[in-house]
Structures are given as C-alpha cells and as structure tokens.
C-alpha cells in the first residue's frame, strides 16, 4: 500500500486534507520570507516554516504509519529554535558593533 494510491481510510483522508492545508501554509510563510521587509520579518517567517515543516513531517508519519519520522520532527524543532535565537542575536549585535 503506497501513499500514491490515494486515501484508504478515514485517517488518510484527514491526512490528505492536512497535507493540503500545511502546503498552503508553507507557501504563505515563504512569500513572507521573500517580501520581508525587515530581516526580523524573514527570520520570523523562517521560524514559521520550521513549525509548518514539523507539522508536515508529523502528518506524513501518520499517513505513512512510520513513527520514525517523528525523530526528524524533533531534530527540526531543535534546529529551528537554535536558528531563530542565533539570528536574533545577529540582528541585535550587527549594527550596534558597527556604530561603536
């Protein structure tokens, strides 16, 4: 049984709807990454994309019945957090150091 054969149970129908919604969310966040306008907006949108990816991975874990994917979700959540904090430090320090 492959995911490409289409939904075979109630849960898979729900997973397909969730796939559609999270994909739209991914696109909306990506538009915000592109248009900005400030660096902080882009970092926030990247953080949102990480969150959307976590839900996408969890949805896929449900649809494919593969619990192993949740490890990837955990790793992505960790990286997303560290990335956001690092970018925030960068925003805070970059121009202050050039002013002094």
């Amino acid at each position: 049984m492959s995911l490409l054969d289409g939904p075979t149970s109630l849960l898979q129908v729900a997973a397909y709807i969730a796939f559609a919604a999270t994909t739209l969310a991914f696109i909306a966040s990506f538009v915000r990454v592109v248009v900005g306008p400030s660096l902080a907006d882009r970092v926030l949108a990247l953080d949102m994309m990480g969150l959307v990816s976590v839900s996408l991975i969890a949805t896929y874990a449900i649809a494919a019945d593969q619990a192993l994917f949740l490890d990837a979700a955990l790793a992505l959540a960790l990286i997303g957090f560290l990335g956001t904090v690092a970018f925030a430090r960068f925003i805070e320090l970059r121009r202050r150091s050039s002013h002094e």
Partner: protein, 129 residues
C-alpha cells in the same frame, strides 16, 4: 475510535497552522505577525503531534510525539521574546496606525540609529520638566 479522534485532531491542527501562516502573510507589522506564529502556530503543530501520539497506539511513539510538543511549548516563547527584543532594538517599523508604544523612549541608549520622529519625541519629553 482513536482513528476518528486522530483525524479530528489532525485536521484542526492543520487548520490552525494554516491560520497562523495566513497571519504571517497578512498582518501589518512584525509584532502582530509574531502574535500569529507563537500562539496559533504552536497550537496547530502541537495538535498535529498529539494526533500522531493518539493514532500510533504505541507508548514509546506517543511519548516521543508529546515530547516534541512540550519542546515546542518551551522554545516558542523564548524564541519570540529574543526576536522581538532584537527587532525592537533594530527599530523595526510599527504599523502606521499604531497609536501607543509603551517602550518608546525607554531604550534609546541601546536602540540602533535614530529615526527622527521617535528621537524628537524622546528629547521633547526629557526637556519639558
């Protein structure tokens, strides 16, 4: 039974994630967009992860999914606070219809640059006794 509960959790989680992303796309300034990702986004991802926990029927998998959710709950406020602070110091533009900024003038020594309006307001306040 757990399948129906999982399906409901999954769809509502995906709905909240979509609403959060629409908020990121449509809301007028950074701090409002932050409002969308930190609350609706975390709730949506959390609901999807809880759905994965409910559906799996395996304690080890359920614990892992709930652990990811708890991790998101712990880190989202921290990341939002650090980013909001950095953005405020960086003088990210507020919405043009914002009529009140409680922090205005209080962080001028650590904030970067000096757009005229904000700086003028701060000096005017300091000069008047």
């Amino acid at each position: 039974m757990s399948e129906a509960v999982g399906a409901i959790l999954l769809i509502s989680g995906a709905f909240f994630v979509l609403v959060a992303a629409l908020g990121v796309l449509r809301l007028p300034d950074l701090f409002m967009r932050m409002h969308a990702t930190t609350k609706a986004g975390t709730l949506g991802a959390g609901l999807v992860l809880v759905a994965a926990a409910v559906v799996s029927g395996d304690l080890a998998v359920a614990v892992k999914a709930v652990l990811v959710f708890l991790f998101l709950l712990l880190t989202a406020p921290v990341a939002a606070h650090v980013l909001g602070r950095a953005a405020y110091y960086d003088r990210v533009e507020l919405w043009d219809r914002t009529h009140h900024d409680d922090l205005e003038g209080r962080y001028d020594e650590v904030r970067i640059g000096a757009p005229d309006r904000v700086a003028d307001a701060a000096t005017a306040r300091n000069e008047s006794p």
